[in-house]
């Protein structure tokens, strides 16, 4: 009856603790296992659906690419966009900013103040003319 007490030295007690580990009831074990497996199945089915859709799309693209369908599709889309832009785009009234009439009857430009002269649209100070007979004084050494 008391023979098991002898085994209670360090490792014996450890072995005893492991051997007498509390076990879950079969019902709990079955219930939890079923729950976990069901969840796993559900998530696997979801990921399988996504993978299948991805593979299908990839296959279609590969098939199209092999016969030049992708370039054809790209061109088609480009043309469609261009047409749509042309239809939707609104044209405003064209105004000419440079015409003969505009040049003739434009608003008179303001006069420059005294001593200034218009050079390329802006009034600039005019340098005094030195005269026709201006010469430097001779070098006298």
């Amino acid at each position: 009856m008391r023979s098991w007490r002898r085994k209670r030295e360090s490792t014996g007690l450890e072995a005893e603790l492991r051997a007498n580990r509390p076990e879950p009831s079969r019902e709990l074990l079955y219930k939890l296992e079923a729950r976990v497996r069901e969840d796993g199945r559900r998530s696997r089915a979801g990921s399988f659906r996504i993978a299948f859709a991805g593979a299908l799309a990839g296959g279609v693209l590969a098939a199209l690419a092999s016969v030049g369908g992708l370039a054809y599709a790209t061109t088609g889309v480009g043309q469609a966009v261009e047409k749509a832009t042309r239809v939707v785009h609104k044209h405003g009234v064209t105004t000419l900013h440079k015409s003969a009439a505009r040049s003739q009857y434009s608003k008179p430009k303001a006069k420059c103040p005294k001593g200034k002269k218009r050079v390329r649209g802006t009034c600039k100070k005019v340098k005094k003319a030195r005269g026709v007979n201006f010469r430097r004084p001779p070098f006298t050494g």
């Binding site: 007690l13 603790l17 492991r18 509390p22 709990l28 729950r35």
Partner: protein, 171 residues
Amino acid sequence: MFRVDPLANPEPLIRRVYAYVAYRIGDGPDAEDITSETFERALRYKKSYDSRKGEPVAWLIGIARRCIEGRPPNLEISSEHYETADRGDLEDDALRRIVLSGAVGRLEERDRELIALRYGADLTARQIAELHDSKTNAIEVALHRALGRLRAQMEEDDESPPAVRKSQAGR
């Protein structure tokens, strides 16, 4: 990159989690509830499992610990949750199990936790150290001491009759 399913092989995990919980709070319906709750949470947060951080069992034990800590206060652990029976009409094995369970139940919370992790959940000292955020060596020493206290408790149980033990536990 492929994600690892931590619950791919649930049976051994259920056994280990249950053993841990039962060593912590005592064998029975409470332990079953905590184990179920642990697996429910694990299923809900399965995507948060990172295989680089540890094995699935360590992850599950972490959840179980939080479940035990989050229990309502009226479900405080007492030695009554652990098996007690009259020794007269029991076989050696059953008696051994009951004496062991009772002795574990009378240990202090920390000792019980260490024993539950090491011999219930079957974690290594290193895994326990990671869970407790301490050093492996410190855990090994603490485990050795806890085993010593458990041995002393069992020897004390052998000497005192069940009625005396019950009154001691009630105090």
